[in-house]
Amino acid sequence: MKQLKWLSYPYIFWMILFIIVPLILVFIFSFTTGDIRLNGDFQFSIENFQRFFDPLYLKVLGKSVNLALKSTIICLLLGYPMAMIISRENIKKRNVMILLFVVPMWMNFLLRTYAWMTLLGKNGVLNFLIKKLGFTPLNFIYNDNAVLLGMVYNFLPFMVLPIYSVLIKMDRSLIEAAEDLGANKVKVFLKIIFPLSLPGVVSGFTMVFMPALSTFVISRLLGGGQYMLIGNLIEQQFLWTGDWHFGSAISIIMMAFILIGMAITSKFDKEKEGGGLW
């Protein structure tokens, strides 16, 4: 079948044009300055990266990393027990539960976030209930916690699924052996179950951290118009301010953070048995 190799040539061309070249362009843009309207008049400079070290932007980066880490940890704390519970069910129930977990994930994430707007809003459903109970309405939306909630809600399935797929493959006899040898439940979990499920935890960690770090929709809708995360900064540079060079530099910095994250996590995932989604 070697004669069929040429069938991939159209896509090779497509990949070069639409995947490689655009990334190279972003890279070039990030290391140059110039007016975007005058094509080709660029000078090499590291100004864009220096500009990022302004406390203003560093604060945005700090906040993004902080929120992304927090949401990842909350997802882990909520998702791990869930994955464990599901993995102990019989196969029929298990498949239904996993399907139920996947369904919201396939719903447009914009709509999922929008749904929280209707719940948390000033005249939203939650405040309606609070008023009914005779309390004064609270301010749920347009703050850090609302953004955090949006992230956890949107990305929780990304944590549960990889952990679940490692847990169901785990050799039950190891747990039984530990129990027979006198280990209590806590010890079995800490010494056997958790270490063996680490590959799943690691891929869950990357799958939540990455989209949480790069989001700009959740922060815009649940954080309000002035809320700035690194994703919003990129959006602002490309769509409103028109400084594509600075925007590209921020994209490169964000990619660097994600690559570092993936490098760290892949160290933990040596055996490559971590269940990805695909």
Binding site: P10, F18, Y114, T118
Partner: protein
Amino acid sequence: MVSKFLKKIYTILIFIFLYAPIVVLIVFSFNNSKSRGSWNGFTLKWYIELFKNEEIMKALYYTIIIAVLSAIISTIIGTFAAIGIYNMNYLSKKVALNINYLPVLNPDIVTAVSLMTLYRFMNIQLGFLSMLLSHITFCIPYVILSVLPKLKQLNRHLAEAAMDLGATPFYALRKVIIPEIMPGIVTGALMAFTLSIDDFVISFFNTGSGVTNLSITVYSMARRGIKPEINALSSLMFLTVLVLLLIINKRTTKDLEKRGDIA
């Protein structure tokens, strides 16, 4: 006993957390009042309003056109690419597959701005064409990832036998390979269609001249405040994606059962 009870409660709470927003959205799409604070009886008027809203109808039209076109084009390019890549030598195969993974692994926003930069560089006006090209670009990798496993299952000798018996490679492709990997192709096409309908970030950056899709419309409406029409629209979109997902899921389970190794 107690721990079993706790587990049940925990499971129920998590599923309430996952589904409450969606249920609220759907329930309030039938509410005969503009505010979400009160329930004024059942109505279908928001659904009627929805179909009268020109902005939404135009967005729906573009969403479907782009989803159909990008599903067809990415399925054709992706299927051929998968067959070609499968027959490459080890090294080129590895390189090609890794590049193919880039749009899957890269954050959406990076893919979005990099494509935007490309169109700028090539002087392509942002609009229908740029959105379509972007959608094809992020759909092809998923088509390839659904077709490749089917190729691995395919008996290599079948195509060789066909060619030994005098079939041209093209004839063997058409009569032997394509029919064998058809389930993977259909799954890939469905996946491309769903992803395209669902996309927001990449479309948002790579559109212009009045071309929008439903996600972009929801986003701009949500920023201006909450409108009951969006609730109706959300319910319909949720239903569509749910049906598509169930079809894809059924296909894969059936396939696994046929192979007799359901996990």
